[in-house]
């Protein structure tokens, strides 16, 4: 049998040319192809539902066999985490309320100001070269291409395909994902301590307790009042909460200098905002942030700084959705540009169950 017969060449040529034509049409955007996808999703829906129903017991049994120990360990770890975060949650909730109040007062829109639709993840990507999930809400529920998808931790991805009753979410870890992001870094000044009259040294105030969202200037005042040496010392702590790192310092101060009135003032705090483009690198790898102006970011972003969506007329998401935290800032050889790695705050994206689609349509007419 000849390896390349005339008929074989013709088949290869026709298939290759058809593929190229279809890919070109699809990438340029074709209403016919979009319609074909919608129709095909409707045809495939009953098959999917049947396969899901049939395979559920098998999958559950498989998971029970292979993941039991891991689940037990994870459950214990999460329980510990919940216990340790319970106190911090109360503080955070109060801060969120204040933040909402400020937004309302200033007539600003926060990410929580937009309507949203909660959806359940139906399935992961069927391929190895695509990080997507399918959710059970579609165009019927008001979902449109480009809308941001979040979970409790932060940004999860964006909608790339919409069918009547389902949608495809491109996850933030996919190399094809990119979004405008901002880094908020606090330029930490040395604390200025007004020494008490007796000259007893005071512990410096932890600058992490200053509120980065409150503005560019923050003043923290610690007051210790104890007129009667016999009476217990009373401490006024501006930041309440069980995980407040300021607590220890205040306690030390009040016990060592009971009869004094001391004032600790933190010098103006500068909040540095750097804007760049964030993109994914695949599962198990950190996100990568590239700055718009590489020279300005030199030495100004720090490990631990928070990364949020930048917003703007061209962005797919409103400003202020948490994305993650900077885990590494590396200098690349041969270029001044820094490689900034970001750990996603949305958690393990392979275990998503419920997500929230922000019904946010960017206002591109503005610019």
């Amino acid at each position: 049998m000849a390896i390349y017969s005339m008929g074989r060449r013709r088949v290869i040529a026709v298939l290759v040319l058809t593929s190229i034509l279809l890919v070109t049409l699809d990438l340029r955007g074709s209403a016919v192809i979009d319609r074909a996808r919608s129709v095909f999703s409707l045809v495939l829906e009953p098959f999917d539902a049947a396969a899901r129903t049939i395979s559920r017991p098998v999958i559950n049994a498989w998971r029970g066999v292979t993941q039991y120990d891991e689940l037990v360990r994870e459950n214990e770890r999460l329980q510990e985490q919940v216990d340790s975060q319970r106190g911090a949650e109360i503080v955070a909730r109060a801060a969120i309320l204040e933040y909402q109040e400020l937004l309302t007062l200033n007539r600003l829109l926060g990410s929580s100001s937009y309507p949203s639709a909660t959806a359940q993840v139906q399935g992961a990507s069927p391929g190895n070269f695509q990080y997507t999930v399918e959710i059970d809400k579609g165009s019927v529920d008001g979902i449109a291409v480009g809308m941001p998808v979040v979970n409790g931790g932060g940004l999860v991805g964006k909608i790339t395909q919409v069918f009547p009753n389902s949608s495809v979410v491109l996850l933030i870890v996919d190399p094809g994902f990119s979004i405008g992001a901002k880094v908020l870094t606090e330029a930490v000044p040395a604390p200025v301590v007004q020494a008490p009259t007796s000259g007893i040294p005071l512990a410096p105030v932890d600058p992490a307790t200053t509120d980065p969202t409150a503005g560019t200037t923050t003043t923290v005042t610690t007051t210790t009042i104890a007129p009667d040496p016999a009476a217990p010392t009373a401490t006024v702590d501006p930041v309440q909460g069980p995980l407040d790192p300021l607590d220890d310092a205040v306690t030390t101060t009040s016990t060592t200098a009971p009869p004094l009135f001391t004032t600790t003032t933190v010098a103006p705090v500068e909040i540095i905002r750097e804007t760049g483009t964030l993109s994914g690198q695949g599962a198990g790898k950190p996100l990568v942030l590239r700055f718009v102006d590489d020279s300005s970011s030199q030495g100004r972003v720090q490990v631990g700084s928070t990364v949020q969506t930048a917003g703007g007329t061209a962005s797919i998401a409103p400003a202020g959705i948490p994305i993650g935290e900077i885990t590494a800032v590396r200098q690349q050889s041969g270029t001044r540009a820094q490689l900034v790695e970001v750990a996603s705050s949305a958690g393990d994206l392979s275990k998503l169950n419920f997500v929230r689609v922000l019904l946010y349509v960017p206002n591109t007419s503005g610019g």
Partner: protein, 174 residues
């Protein structure tokens, strides 16, 4: 009309829907070494090993188109990759018209390996970079082994879908 009803498309389409549904539900959950097993690719390669390079390429192209329509990947991209897988696997019939099961399985594995390797290459051609990573050294062997294992199922199924019967040899009377 009769030719269409008895043609391969009528068989391949419903079989493809069932296999695609399995791919999208069952196999996305049962990952091996964090790799999604590819049954649609294995069927494309199986059709090639059972029915020859041209028919294998056509089966792979059709299954790939269905995959593209279902998953939202650029239409025609997976079709091209799966057509290549079917075509490569079909080369087994150039050696012998009735290959033994192990030779057919081997070519199903080769076809699947070629298809899975070609997928990131095809994506790179349309500007979707970032898929040529060390993870590829895990993905390709796992997908290949899976295709080898299920080849006794997908080769006859692919042959049936493409309306090809296994040749039977008869002794000629003198």
């Amino acid at each position: 009309m009769r030719a269409f009803l008895t043609g391969p498309l009528v068989r391949l389409f419903p079989v493809g829907l069932c296999v695609l549904a399995m791919q999208r539900t069952f196999l996305t959950e049962l990952k091996v070494m964090d790799v999604v097993l590819q049954i649609v690719l294995a069927l494309a390669a199986g059709a090639g090993a059972g029915a020859g390079p041209e028919r294998g390429a056509i089966a792979g192209f059709t299954l790939g188109l269905m995959y593209d329509l279902a998953t939202g990947s650029p239409l025609g991209l997976t079709a091209l990759v799966y057509a290549l897988a079917g075509f490569v696997a079909g080369y087994v019939l150039t050696f012998t018209p009735t290959p033994p099961w192990w030779l057919a399985s081997l070519f199903v594995g080769i076809g699947a390996a070629v298809g899975e390797t070609a997928a990131p290459a095809a994506r790179a051609l349309i500007g979707q970079d970032g898929w040529f990573t060390s993870q590829l050294f895990t993905i390709v062997p796992v997908v290949t082994v899976f295709a080898l294992v299920i080849s006794p199922l997908v080769v006859p199924l692919g042959r049936w879908c493409m309306c090809v019967k296994r040749p039977k040899w008869k002794a000629m009377h003198e």
